[in-house]
Symmetry: C2
């Protein structure tokens, strides 16, 4: 059975009767119509995912649908914005019902878990490309920005219970054949690469507590550098304080350091807060049901210093992830 | 000189100090922050452009930048929403400064002409793909929708002064070698394909006047069918009333009909209005400085009938444009 563009939208991406107090008009007209909450600021972010760059052809479609929305929700989390709605633009080599069944299921299940609606989009034939734009709301002057870190602040990172940073990168190294993992270990880190958990509850709980925040997408060092540059500060990072999964903890120290410090694809929150707010930070994490670890401090002196638990310099020879430099 | 992803954003797509009353935070954080006007509805639309589908590799980069934003502005025009801001996600095979100079110039010149800001985006390496999401504002219950056409309404279409529908399709046929045009004629229709003019002033002026509107992107017949389906009505279209450029008027009647009725890529507004509102329609067009033509009427009987000036049936053997059916 051949599906056309409009059949595709109707079958996989239209859910009639989903209009609400906030969504005046969803999929099906030239524009969607949203009713923002009066007085709130609108937070907007867009991410484009390309095969071979942001995901491998081996990813199950349901996980790809989840991840495409998760990386966008993660940007709202980093701003402390409450998710509202999203649009989806999709370029597909062909209409493959099995792919679209899985993709739409993974995408819409995560949307439902966060109470947000797919309000519009575009589909076209072409190389596989997924572009999602996400909208959220945040009260004026309460958004978490990259520019708010202050000298003396603690640096914190979120992580999965019993897990840590760098697992997604370890999975990528395993897919590339650079490292060998047993089946259970591979499945565990593969799930971290393919099914990231956006930290939206934590982002909301950190409003008024964190001084800055960013989500970890390109690797801890590179993402932290963005915060330092926008905040005009430096930092010292304790490489041994970074949370680790059991799988990554079992790897050689060089690989461990590369995965945690320069891995990318973590989608955890990196944030700063005044030391006097430790209790408030811990209460926010408890409220969000999310594990956090203190991993360093913000310095007045420019530059980023990475040390181990004994205060010795740790070499960081890796470039931050850059789509045009790999 | 090699440019990385962040150099690219900084050099071509960041314009510091462009924050305003409406844009609280632009490019450079996890999210942009917009201050919607209290009480207004937010109109949102997204369009993805793929090489070989929406543009040819021969398009000058400056025109491509213009067109990528124009097709999105056209969706806001069709809803009667005032443009506010947009995001850009861009997948590029490589960082080509000459391409990016032209693309950014064409894109931002049109943005400036409409007083809207590029507030965020994403860049990645991959097959050329441009995804823009555009935001506008419209007062509650004043958006022009596809669902408002009523039996007895006149059908109208906008067009360039001295021009008409179908020129973009004629240019495509010339590029494909299916038709031969002299140099001046080719340049004229090529400009209509590569530099569409979104009808935003007309869309705003038609609030409270038009009963329905849609922008012509996939071809008049297909786009009109969307209006008829959403409005549960039929229509009669006068093929001889469609506005024509001199270049297209000189072509054989079959080609002329195919280009105007099924051409696509026109980005004119097709709208309906009660016959009693003819003066208001003409005043709106005059206020917007935009030519319009009356091309048919809405019928209570379902179905779309195409006739010529003498009322004879006109065959319409062309399928509506569908990205997955060509």
């Amino acid at each position: 059975m051949a599906f056309g563009e409009f059949d595709l939208i109707a079958r996989w991406f239209t859910r009639p009767g989903r209009e609400s107090e906030r969504i005046a008009l969803g999929v099906g007209d030239d524009c969607a119509l949203v009713r923002p909450t009066p007085g709130m600021q609108l937070a907007v972010s867009t991410d484009m995912l390309v095969e071979g760059r942001h995901f491998l052809s081996s990813v199950p479609p349901q996980r790809l649908g989840h991840k495409a929305l998760a990386v966008n929700l993660s940007d709202l989390a980093a701003c402390g914005a409450a998710p509202l709605a999203f649009t989806l633009a999709l370029s597909l080599p062909r209409v493959d019902p099995a792919f679209l069944d899985g993709f739409a299921h993974g995408l819409l299940a995560l949307a439902d878990a966060h109470g947000i609606e797919l309000i519009g989009g575009d589909t076209t034939a072409g190389p596989l490309n997924i572009c999602i734009t996400v909208f959220g709301e945040v009260p004026p002057d309460q958004a978490l920005l990259r520019s708010g870190a202050r000298a003396g602040d603690d640096l914190w990172v979120s992580h999965p219970d019993g897990g840590g940073l760098g697992d997604a990168r370890l999975a990528l190294e395993a897919f590339r054949g650079h490292v060998s993992l047993d089946a259970d270990a591979f499945e565990a880190v593969r799930a971290r690469m393919e099914l990231p958990t956006p930290r939206n509850a934590l982002g909301l709980a950190l409003r008024g507590v964190a001084t800055s925040a960013i989500d970890l997408s390109d690797g801890l060092l590179g993402d932290l550098q963005h915060v330092l540059a926008r905040s005009s500060v430096g930092a010292t990072l304790d490489a041994d304080a970074l949370p680790l999964s059991a799988v990554l903890a079992a790897q050689a120290v060089t690989l461990r350091r590369e995965c945690t410090l320069a891995g990318g694809d973590d989608y955890e929150l990196l944030f700063s807060a005044a030391p006097a707010r430790v209790a408030a930070v811990q209460a926010a994490a408890a409220q969000a049901g999310c594990a956090i670890a203190r991993i360093g401090r913000v310095d007045a002196a420019p530059g980023l210093r990475v040390v181990d638990a004994r205060g010795r310099h740790v070499a960081t020879p890796w470039a931050a992830f850059d789509h045009f430099k790999i």
